[in-house]
Amino acid sequence: MHGLTAQSPNNFQKPCLCILALDVSGSMAGAPIIELNMALEGFYQSINNDDEAAEKLEICLITFGSEVKCIQEPAKVDNFKMPSLEADGTTKLVDGIRLAIKQVELRKEYYKKYSPQYSRPMIIVITDGEPDTGQDIFGLSEELKTDMISKKYTLHVIGTTGCNYAKIAQFCPKELIYQLDGLNYSRFFKWLSKSTDEISSGKNFIDISGYNDFMHQSPIN
């Protein structure tokens, strides 16, 4: 380096919120929920082992089955342990996404008070089914359209075996719906842990390298 040397300051890392809205309905029981739990733990470890990611990434976990719950409020990985999910009940998918949007709003209020800048929050939905009947799909569709235009957050839906993509497309833009190959949750979360900057910048998955090793755009595209 011809003698050139430099120390760098310890700058505050701008926070980046990643909300995982996860389907824990009965159809996820067995191998799917086991794989998903293992993948979430792997995701947690990847973030924990990456100093920069650990300092800026805030994870929020929402589950939807017969009930919708925020099982982990937004927090950095050193402030929580990854919970283990259990599958049961129906699929309150629309309510799950609505709760994710609510969490985005709450956290943005907090950032506006306490952070000079923050990354665009991201919502990632994983489901193997379709929303319960009677859920407000049309209302959610309108809400997502408005929010996408104003760049309130990024949203992607990942479907696995059994997912009704046509139903998902009734509220989510088709280009944001993906199909996971088999139960490749681990590979997805490994890729996600390295791609949060790009997703938060507004890139669709297809514009981020490596995505097609384990998932594809949904069959309705």
Binding site: M1, A6, S8, S115, P116, D197
Partner: protein
Amino acid sequence: MRDWNYLFASVRGKGHIEENISCQDYCSVFPHTGYTICVVSDGAGSCENSHIGSEKVTQFANIHFSGLVEEKKWNKGKKKITLEEWQQVSQKTLKAVRDDLEKISIQGYDFKSLSCTLIVVIQIKNKLLVTHIGDGRAGYCNSNDEWAAMLTPYKGRYSNETVFITSDIWEDETSLNKYIKSVIVEEKIKAFCLLTDGCENASFECYKLDEVTQIPEDINKPFKDFFHENVNLHIPNLIKSQKSQEELNQIWESFLTDGNDTLKNESDDKTMILAVKVPQLES
């Protein structure tokens, strides 16, 4: 200007290397008679031709700002440059750069796909004339070894959001004054730097958590420990060893690539021009 030496380079960030994307930053130093123009530009990550945009605006900035200096005869030192005048003419000159960029979009590029930021520093006599659109940082070191910023980056709501030369900011004076900031530094200086935001985490104190309130503060100050030894020891040694400009830039490129862990791990493209005064020994 023979006492002044410039190290400048643009290198790809880790993210662009992994994705095999070309560097979207560009920079150059243009020596003229009696003054030097330094330009850095950061192509917008989401715009497919921003690497072309950043290169072109760097060249156009040199053309238009050198034209301005010579028209005003600032390089002859005959007329005092006031801040008010500099603010006014720098906006007009940046508009001319923007219009030239729009002309090349006729060659088949969508204008917005050329989006990039721009920082211009004209070093003239004992002054630095600074103007910029967007983010990035610039700072200087005075003869007491005190470093200070010489621009405030424009940051949008989200990180990585800023304004570009292609943005719709040219319609009215309020907008121009909001997005284009120009300053004059008139101190005895021994070094100055201008950089894209890919270098800011390594070389600037940007935001620091207040230990008591735990609320981040906007510091915007060159980090002395990044620059001090290089400016006072290592770069003077390189200059004294008679390195060519090309060799200096290669050394600088290598330093920006992996000079320390922060530089090495940066995912964004990195550009920095560092100007250092190294008094020449009389022969």
